[in-house]
Assembly symmetry: C2
Homo-oligomer: 257 residues x 2
C-alpha cells in the first residue's frame, strides 16, 4: 500500500479525498493516511476526523505528500515541511516543478478538470498529468493516479503550462461566451434555456470531430450580410468588440487552409 497525505482543504483536495476513498473500496493500492487542513472541521464530512490534522509537526511518515492548495500558498507549505528527501508533489497547472523547495523529491500531480465544491465529478474520467524528477518516483505517482483515474499522462512543466493556458480558453473563456449569450437573451426577454441543447451539442461534437471540421456559422461561411446585421444588432460595446474580433479570427483561420 502506498501511504498518501493530502495537504489542503479546497475543491481539489476535497475531490481527491473522495476519489481516494472510492478507490480504497475497490482496491488496496493507496492508503490515504492523513489530511492537513488549517480548519479541521472543514473536512469532517469527508473523512474520519482522527485523520485530519492542522499542525505540520503531526504529519506522519508517508510515501507521497500531495499539496493541493492555491498557487500562492505552495511555497509556504513546502517551507513548513520539516522532513527531507520524501516525495512531495503539487496539483497546480502552472507552477513549475523546479520552483518547489528541493529539500524533498519533487513532482507534479495535476488533475485537469474544473472542480466545484458542491458538484460531484467522476474522477475516473479526469485526466491526471504527472511529472517527477526520476523514474522511481514516476512509478509511485503513476500507481496512485491510476488507482483513481483511467486517464494518466506524463507531462513536463512546459507542456503542462500549455495545457493550463489552453484550459483557460476552452473552460474560462468558453464560460464567458455562455455569459454573453445569457446577457443577450436577458436583454431581449428570451429564456437562456433555449440555448442549452446547442451548448451541449457544441461540446459533444468536439468528441468526434476536430474543432476545424466542426466550425460553422456566418464567419466560417464569410456571410457578410448576416455578420453586418448581427453587428448592427449588438448594442453592448463589449459584446460587439468580441463579436468582431472572433469573427475576424475565424475568417483569417479559414484562409490559412
Amino acid at each position: 500500500m502506498i501511504k498518501v497525505v493530502i495537504i489542503g482543504s479546497g475543491s481539489v483536495a476535497q475531490h481527491l479525498i473522495v476519489a481516494f476513498r472510492n478507490a480504497q473500496k475497490q482496491e488496496n493500492t493507496v492508503d490515504l493516511i492523513q489530511v492537513f487542513s488549517r480548519k479541521k472541521e472543514k473536512l469532517w464530512h469527508l473523512i474520519d476526523s482522527t485523520k485530519v490534522i492542522n499542525e505540520y509537526d503531526e504529519l506522519l511518515d508517508a510515501d507521497l505528500y500531495i499539496i493541493a492548495v492555491s498557487d500562492n500558498s505552495i511555497l509556504e507549505v513546502t517551507e513548513n515541511l520539516t522532513f527531507k528527501n520524501r516525495l512531495v508533489v503539487h496539483t497546480s497547472g502552472s507552477f513549475p516543478i523546479d520552483e518547489l523547495n528541493d529539500s524533498n523529491r519533487r513532482g507534479v500531480f495535476y488533475p485537469l478538470q474544473t472542480f466545484s465544491k458542491n458538484r460531484g465529478v467522476d474522477f475516473r474520467l479526469v485526466p491526471i498529468c504527472l511529472e517527477s524528477e526520476n523514474a522511481t518516483d514516476y512509478q509511485i505517482l503513476n500507481r496512485v493516479a491510476k488507482s483513481i483515474s483511467n486517464s494518466v499522462f506524463a507531462i513536463n512543466s512546459n507542456q503542462r503550462k500549455a495545457l493550463h493556458v489552453a484550459a483557460v480558453f476552452v473552460n474560462n473563456f468558453t464560460n464567458y461566451l455562455y455569459q454573453i449569450g445569457n446577457e443577450i437573451c436577458e436583454q431581449h426577454q428570451v429564456p437562456f434555456e433555449i440555448l442549452k441543447p446547442l451548448i451541449t451539442e457544441t461540446a459533444q461534437k468536439i468528441m468526434v470531430l476536430s474543432p476545424l471540421e466542426a466550425q460553422t456559422g456566418p464567419a466560417k461561411r464569410c456571410d457578410s450580410v448576416t455578420i453586418e446585421s448581427h453587428e448592427a444588432f449588438l448594442k453592448d460595446e463589449n459584446h460587439l468588440e468580441i463579436y468582431k474580433i472572433l469573427t475576424q479570427a475565424i475568417q483569417d483561420n479559414g484562409k490559412k487552409l
Copy 2:
C-alpha cells in the same frame, strides 16, 4: 392529419425528414407528403423516392410548407410558389417574417440546433421557435412542432434574432476557442484529448449553474501573476489578442457585480 411539405435538401431539411418519419411511427399528427429537392437522388436514402419532386408545379396541396434552405435562397423559393394563401414558413434564425413574400400566410419554424449531416440528433430535445401572423396558423405550427420536439417556444422576429446572435457566441465562437485550445496543444506536442473532459464539464455545469456562478479562472480571480505568465507564454499574436480581450472582459464583468 396535418399535411406537410418540406422544400430543401440540406442538413436542416434532412434532420426534419428523419424527425417527421420518427414521429409518424408514434402518432398520426403529421403526414410528410412531399419533399422538394433540386437533386432528387440526394434524399432517396431518407424517404420513399416517389415523394421527392424537383419541379415546383408538382407541389401538392398541403397544410404547411416548410422552406429549409439557406437564407440567400428563401426569397427565390417563395417566388417560385404558384399557389396563394397557404401557410408557408422558413427555418432561418435571422430572416424576418415580414420579408417573406406575402401572397401566402407567413410563419417561422426555427429549430435552434447545430446540424451536421452525418451526425444524428435527438429532435425531441431540439428547441423549436415558432412565429406566425395569426393564432390559427400558430396552432398548426404548434401541433407540428410538438409532434417532433418537447421544447416549443413562441418567439417573435426580434427575439429570434437575439437568439441567433447569442447562438453565434455559444456555438460558433465557443467552437473557435476549442480550435485555439487545439492549436496550443499541437504547438507543444500535447494531445488535445486531455482537454475533452474539461470541455464536457464546462458545458454540463451550465445546465445547473448560471454562467456568472460557473465562472472561474485567473481572470475571475484577478490573478495577475498567472495572467502575465500566460500572456508571456502565448507566441501567437492572434491567441494573445483574444486572451487579453476576454480576460479584460471577465475582469470588468466581475467589477459590475
